[in-house]
Amino acid sequence: MDRCERYTDLISARLDGELTGEEERELEAHLACCPACRALESQLAAIHTAFPQVEETPAPEGFAQGVMERIRAQESAGPKVVPLFRRPQVRALAGLAACLVLCVGLYQAGIPRRAGDAVEYVEYNVAPDSAASEGTEKLMQPGIAVASVEGLMTEEDSQDAGAAQSDAVPELQLRSTGSPAQYEVAGRAVDAVLTLTQLPEGSEEILGPETETLPDGEGGTCYLVTWEQMEGLLALLQEREGITSSVTAGQKSDGLCAVVLTEEP
């Protein structure tokens, strides 16, 4: 019986024309001496030949009309050309793109930016020392703008930046990007944010008495300045040492910039 079990597979496979020549000969030899397997073979063959007769089961009434209705519905919804945004591929792609945007956003918000990566920001550190990280830690507090968070530099970053800048006078360029990158500081939309631990000497002249100031909620002060005023401040910062600062700049639109003054600890 155990021996016959193997031949069951062969008998079945022969009905489907799936035997090799060798298997065929082996099966023939077995069938010649095993009446039980011969009987089985004839029964399985009978079932096999009965299949074509079982084939036809009538489709339910209205089947073809149903097909045509589905076709017409499809044709009227989009005659030949499926609207771009209805195509499942495009929908999937749109979903993927949304996820990607979200991921990039989360990544940018959550991970301190390296100076080298930044296309739309320029980070600038006049006095790269341990004060940089202390200064930036203060900025992480709630109430300080998104931009401040985006402009944060890690100690490692500031050291890198410092190493690169130590030999040459650091040059700052406010690059414009194609996207309108705007930041919010203390509820105001600005094009660029300069954070620094203290105002350099001579900044009073640049800021002037009319400069609007806002409390940033953490004991610091936020000045709303023009693009030109900020550039003036940056020029002053280049001449001074011991002030930790960083700049985050987006595209210049109305030229309003924020100068966030964080108090020295």
Partner: protein, 200 residues
Amino acid sequence: MTERELVDRARAGDQDAFEQLVLNNQNRVYTLALRMVNDREEAADLAQEAFLKAWQGLPSFQGDSSFSTWVYRLASNVCIDYLRKQKRRREVEPVLSLDDEESGWTEPADWDQDPQRQLERAERSRAVARGLEALPDNHRQVLALRELSGLSYQEIGQALELDIGTVKSRIARARLALRKILLEDGNFFGGPPSNPSNEH
């Protein structure tokens, strides 16, 4: 009108011609789907989907095979996709439905031979249909793909993600199981079993 002419017209956008193609093939396609999924409503839906795919694919249909072969293959694929999704969703338990009295299995169309023999054939055909329905899903599906779709072992293996050895033995097991049901049914082999081969 020949199938070829109907296909040409349908390809040119003639929906009536396509409807005729549907009518000519609907029973075969529906039967295949029914054997594969064992659910009348689901089978009708899948069979319609196969025809919908055929309509959409007509522009690229080369005519290397006949339309009926092509649409049959499309239906096989639609059903296989469905079964794969089902398989992922859950381990399907065998569905037993033996309510054949009202299901209206068709009589063979060629009524030209000896009526007595035709009656016997019809009865045997019904017995096989009942037997198929009573088979567990994995057995019924391989038999449907083999006996109805005419897929090779290799193609079945690809479709169901099985190796050829498994396909081979599963088809053999399915046939043995069907044989057992038919022996008990008594209408296929002509009376209750009295055969020593039953030990298999």
